[in-house]
Amino acid sequence: MQTVVTEVQTRESDITAIAHQPPVQDGVPAAPSTDPATARAALGTMWRIRRFEEAVDDLFARGLMHGTMHLSIGQEASATGVCLALRERDAITSTHRGHGHCIAQGADLTRMMAELLAKETGYCRGRGGSMHIADVATGNLGANGIVGGGIPIAAGAALAYKMRGEDRVVASFFGDGATNEGAFHEGLNLAAIWDLPVVFVCENNKYGMSFSTEFSMAVPHVADRAAAYGMPGVTVDGNDLDAVHAVAAEAVDRARNGGGPTLIEAETYRWKGHSKSDKNLYRTREEIAEWRERDPIVAFETKVTESGLLTAADITAARDEATDAIKAAVREANSGTDADPGDLLDAVFAPVDAAPLASSPNQDVTR
């Protein structure tokens, strides 16, 4: 087998935050603000996403990172809330704007950063970059450079789970723009007619690149489209971590118990441009400022400090730990070896005589 598996040290702070599993009530993971430890872990995840992407933005601006990337700063609650509603062995499919999903699902920050830095030690050995990170071990079936590309794949993974009688669920993330692709229609319809355990999560950040949902669709809400497939559709404030978690938990539970798929529309906003070439000509400064006021991290921090669940010191600690974790990830990733052109052709085809890859999504993978 050609895959290079690199042992990467996980940091102390990561371990505390990731290892904490929310209490499960009636098979459903509890809400982020159930207890201090769960709140603290959820907040840590959001901060790690934010700090990771700030670091990526900075590395890019300084010319230390190549290619292209799409930042989800401002959208941390939808990734975090949905992934918190999943259990071990559930899976996700992600998008071009997928760093948050990847981190929320428990990916190793160093291997992610190493991938973006084109290192052999990255998740894809430097072959994939930002848009193609997958981590099958944590149930992340992959980011995708093709808008809508992950939607039918999620249906297929769920079909496999269902055919094998496993009680696993797939959450499929995609944007508002993706809902105009044929793949959206075909994937949702298959999931609906076959009662597949999928939760479709549309992160409606109001734009597909420059094109506003105001013009790209003729119904007010993406969730309205669920009716066409005979599945429940629900719109939620995507910047409210607990609210996202609540609708996701309900949908995941339904899917796990044979109730079929749900379409969730999480209304949110990306603070940064679509990618590095965006001049923001299609939206106003005021609109961006308005949404920055609705920072999902600040909203959650305010809520949990006001309720007395966390102290100001807890909050500072969560943020500082994330900052340190990302700094360490950048440092460690940088010390990895560069991807080697010499073995560029060694993974075009899987070796025929080898045992099925351990990382194959066909296999029963546990975290």
């Binding site: 190549h66 290619g67 430097g126 072959r127 193609h132 044929g182 094109f211 560029l344 052709l345």
Partner: protein, 341 residues
């Protein structure tokens, strides 16, 4: 088909423009001259196109004619086919050529075949413009060179403009053409500069261009490999090896005579493309040479220098290793020119 475009007072002049500006100028002139011409695609409006090609056109021609679409490639191309059938001259921009995969049914099963299937009763005059190629670190789903796919489908014309000075005239000719034309723009060319005629002169489709003459070997190259091969030829000339460089420009319909003539004159031929070699466009060129009397002039086996048969990787060093670089062309050209028969 289209009325001759209005001549401007600067007709005879040529100015230095970028490849993108030259394309934009063709779009603007075609839209000014013919009400039937309009453009549709993702983010072509106020965003100005993912690669900035449409730029300010939306401010000059309005949202009706520079039409932003949802992310719906199949729908976009299908709408263009329908509009073309109904008498318009649509120009589609597909943001990256990789996303033609979403639209393949409309391109291959509809646009390419309608004229033939209907016994020639109607035609589908549309242009599908799309950027192709690697070199931007965008990895496997945003860097492909799929020209051979299109060239393999009867009913599609396929153009790969490799110079700033010709891209405008080629696009105008493509817009005039009564057939579906796939117009493949290399991403690395967009910012390159060159002299562009100010007027509306067409550069006819279906003409190979001999870009350089030399007696020792022939290099046939497409897309970004044309300028790279010319640079390599200049380096080889310093060593006393003179290369002819032929650029097919239009892959379908292919003008093979200049290629075969050059092979007859030089006796050695190297075929250079960015796309993976296996079943690529240059395989067709090799077959044409081998199947013609040019075969008898060969003093060495036909050499293909192509992209590796792998998806495009992200890491810069790997991406560069995937496709022929200047040095690769020089080294392979030197080896071929000095190879014993």
């Amino acid at each position: 088909m289209t009325a001759t475009l209005p001549q401007t007072e600067t007709q005879a002049e040529s100015r230095e423009l970028t490849y993108s500006e030259a394309i934009r100028e063709a779009l603007a002139e075609a839209m000014t001259a013919d009400d039937r011409v309009f453009m549709l695609g993702e983010d072509v409006g106020v965003y100005g196109g993912a690669f900035g090609v449409s730029g300010d056109l939306v401010h000059r021609f309005g949202k009706e004619r520079i039409r932003d679409t949802p992310i719906s490639e199949l729908g976009i191309v299908g709408a263009a086919v329908g509009a073309a059938l109904a008498g318009m001259r649509p120009i589609v921009e597909i943001q990256f050529s990789d996303f033609t995969c979403q639209a393949m049914d409309q391109i291959v099963n509809q646009a390419a075949k309608i004229h033939f299937m209907l016994g020639g009763a109607v035609s589908v005059p549309m242009v599908l413009r799309t950027p192709l190629g690697s070199g931007t670190g965008a990895a496997a789903q945003h860097s492909q060179s799929l020209e051979a796919w299109f060239a393999h489908v009867p009913g599609l014309k396929v153009v790969m403009p490799s110079t700033v000075s010709e891209v405008k005239g080629l696009l105008l000719a493509a817009i005039d053409d009564p057939n579906p034309v796939v117009f493949l723009e290399h991403k690395l060319l967009y910012r390159t500069k060159g002299h562009v005629p100010a007027g509306a002169d067409r550069v006819p489709l279906g003409r190979s261009v001999v870009r350089r003459e030399g007696a020792d070997l022939t290099i046939v190259a497409t897309g970004i490999m044309v300028s790279r091969s010319l640079e390599a030829a200049a380096r080889l000339a310093d060593e006393g090896i003179e290369a002819t460089v032929v650029d097919p420009v239009t892959l379908t319909p292919l003008d093979e005579a200049p290629i075969l003539d050059a092979v007859r004159r030089t006796g050695r031929v190297m075929l250079v493309q960015e796309a993976p070699g296996h079943v690529g466009f240059m395989s067709e060129i090799a077959a044409r040479i081998a199947g013609s009397s040019a075969l008898y002039s060969l003093e060495a086996p036909i050499k293909r220098l192509c992209g590796l048969d792998a998806p495009m990787p992200y890491a810069p060093a790997l991406e560069a290793a995937m496709v022929p670089q200047l040095d690769d062309i020089v080294v392979a050209g030197r080896a071929l020119a000095t190879q014993e028969a």
